[in-house]
């Protein structure tokens, strides 16, 4: 599923990858706020274009484009729904303004998906876990998060092995009506669940054996340090919000239909 590809971390050295995840999250939030403030097409187009230098700097173009394709489906639905409702409400007429509005709503969705995509593409799960930890989220949750991410590929492999084993016993996953097909997955799910339970027991043993719970205040091998680039991004994010709020209240935003004099 290409939209998920847009959320998987890609290990590459780039200045964006090195930024503190908390600051990156702040930036994404500021994009979010701006996208909500405007419903005109022009600022949203600008907002979308503003992302592109970040994508290029982070060298994640391929994956980013893939996630765009993944979002295309939902985007089409949003566009279509908006057009239809405008059409119906305005008494079966469609103006250029309607199209512009629908496009803006669609673009707003795309901008949000894309900024989150950049965030996840450039932030490794352990950095995320570390960011959570340093943001004073209780360690148990951070640990559960990173451990879960660590085991995702393991579980995926295991699911494949289980499917192979059951297929080799004549299980045909694609056969039968809708209900039968769901029941076909029971021989896959049960071994997977039981293995997950067994695995958690073994993990618990291993954790205990490595002095889990010895001290309240755990230390950490890594520490996230805010650097100059992080201060710069913080400044940029705050500036973006301030400028956009100013524009919203004091500057009239041109729209394309006005421009085309219709």
């Amino acid at each position: 599923m290409s939209v998920f590809d847009g959320l998987k971390f890609r290990r590459v050295t780039s200045p964006i990858h090195l930024l503190d995840p908390r600051i990156k999250f702040l930036y994404v939030c500021s994009i979010f706020v701006v996208a909500i403030i405007f419903w005109e097409l022009l600022p949203l187009i600008i907002l979308f274009l503003v992302q592109i230098p970040f994508v290029l700097l982070a060298r994640v173009q391929k994956e980013w484009i893939r996630s765009l394709r993944g979002a295309a489906f939902l985007a089409t639905i949003i566009f279509g729904t908006n057009i239809i409702f405008r059409f119906l409400y305005a008494g079966y007429t469609l103006t250029l303004q309607d199209i512009e509005y629908a496009s803006a709503m669609t673009l707003r969705f795309v901008v949000l998906v894309e900024s989150f995509s950049i965030f996840f593409l450039t932030t490794s799960p352990d950095h995320l876990g570390l960011a959570l930890e340093q943001s004073h989220v209780p360690y148990e949750f951070c640990f559960a998060f990173t451990t879960a991410v660590r085991f995702v590929p393991v579980l995926a492999d295991e699911a494949q092995t289980i499917m192979d084993a059951q297929k080799a016993r004549g299980l045909e996953l694609e056969k039968g009506n809708f209900l039968k097909r769901i029941r076909n997955y029971i021989p896959i799910l049960i071994p997977l669940i039981i293995s997950a339970i067994r695995r958690s027991l073994e993990l618990a043993e291993a954790m205990e054996s490595r002095a889990w719970g010895a001290i309240e205040k755990r230390t950490n091998l890594y520490v996230l340090q805010i650097r100059r680039a992080d201060y710069l991004l913080t400044l940029i994010s705050i500036l973006i919000i301030i400028v956009c709020i100013y524009i919203r209240f004091y500057v009239p935003v041109p729209s394309f239909s006005d421009f085309w004099g219709l």
Partner: protein, 272 residues
């Protein structure tokens, strides 16, 4: 009969796991496929029941090309016993577990019942008929998995690393069981890196390394061919190692069996 004709296989990730494999397995043969982890052994056997299809070349199982045949169909003749029984156990009772494949293959109720009883008996699991498979020990679960495959009486039985985690006695029992299966006419293919186990069984040995076959001959010749073994990163059996250190005394080197070793050494000691 399984014919592998110049088969190449590349995983979606890009790794080329099989690089031109050709071999023929006749009915009733007993074969061990050996090699390091990553040599391509498991990739090769998964081609036999269609779980994987060759990217180039073809595989014929009893003259049926695997390329366009479903796994379910091929599985009726090629039974696969996976390394970890916990990857397949899911039923409430051992009985249901053993009957699972039979149901999938469309066996009639009466035949099914007979087959289940027979398979449980064969593996000494009759007392656990109504037990939950999850209540059994590791070794017992392995036997349930084996019973569930033998129940449909496939012509070919493929076992992927059956000796992992087993103690010596369990391996001995397994060895005798495999030999029994083979004597009953089944084609048995065992994938393993356990040299001592293979030395005790003395089957035809196919040695693989980095996606290619580097040796294919009877056990005695392959397991004593030090060059080929080194290529596949396999250490020869201890008996062979001993005889390799005694070449100065004019003793043969192609010895893998402890009884043959005894015979040769006793003769030499007697001559003294």
């Amino acid at each position: 009969m399984i014919k592998v004709e110049d088969v190449y296989f590349t995983y979606p990730s890009g790794i080329e796991a099989l690089k031109g494999i050709s071999l023929t397995i006749k009915d009733g043969e007993f074969i061990a496929i050996m090699g390091q982890n990553g040599a391509g052994k498991t990739t090769l056997i998964k081609q036999f029941n269609g779980l994987l299809k060759p990217t180039k070349g073809e595989i014929l199982v009893d003259d049926v090309n695997t390329k366009n045949t479903s796994v379910a169909k091929l599985a009726q003749n090629v039974g696969f016993v996976f390394q970890n029984p916990d990857n397949q156990l899911f039923c409430e009772t051992v009985e249901e577990e053993v009957a699972f494949a039979l149901k999938n293959f469309g066996f009639k109720e009466t035949t099914l019942k007979k087959r289940v009883t027979w398979a449980l008996n064969l593996l000494g699991l009759t007392e656990y008929r109504k037990t939950s498979p999850f209540m059994l020990s590791g070794g017992e679960r392995k036997r349930v998995a084996l019973a569930s495959v033998l129940a449909w009486n496939p012509k070919v039985v493929v076992m992927d690393e059956p000796t992992i985690g087993q103690d010596y006695q369990q391996k001995e029992k397994l060895r005798q069981f495999i030999i029994q299966l083979n004597m009953q006419g089944k084609t048995v293919v065992v994938v393993t890196h356990d040299v001592e186990f293979v030395a005790d069984c003395n089957p035809r040995v196919i040695l693989m390394s980095q996606g290619k076959i580097v040796a294919d001959d009877i056990g005695k010749r392959v397991l004593t061919d030090i060059d080929r073994l080194t290529q596949a990163s396999i250490v020869p059996p201890q008996i062979t190692q001993i005889f390799m250190g005694l070449t100065d005394f004019g003793l043969p080197v192609d010895v893998i069996d402890i009884y043959k070793a005894r015979e040769i050494l006793q003769k030499r000691l007697g001559e003294k």
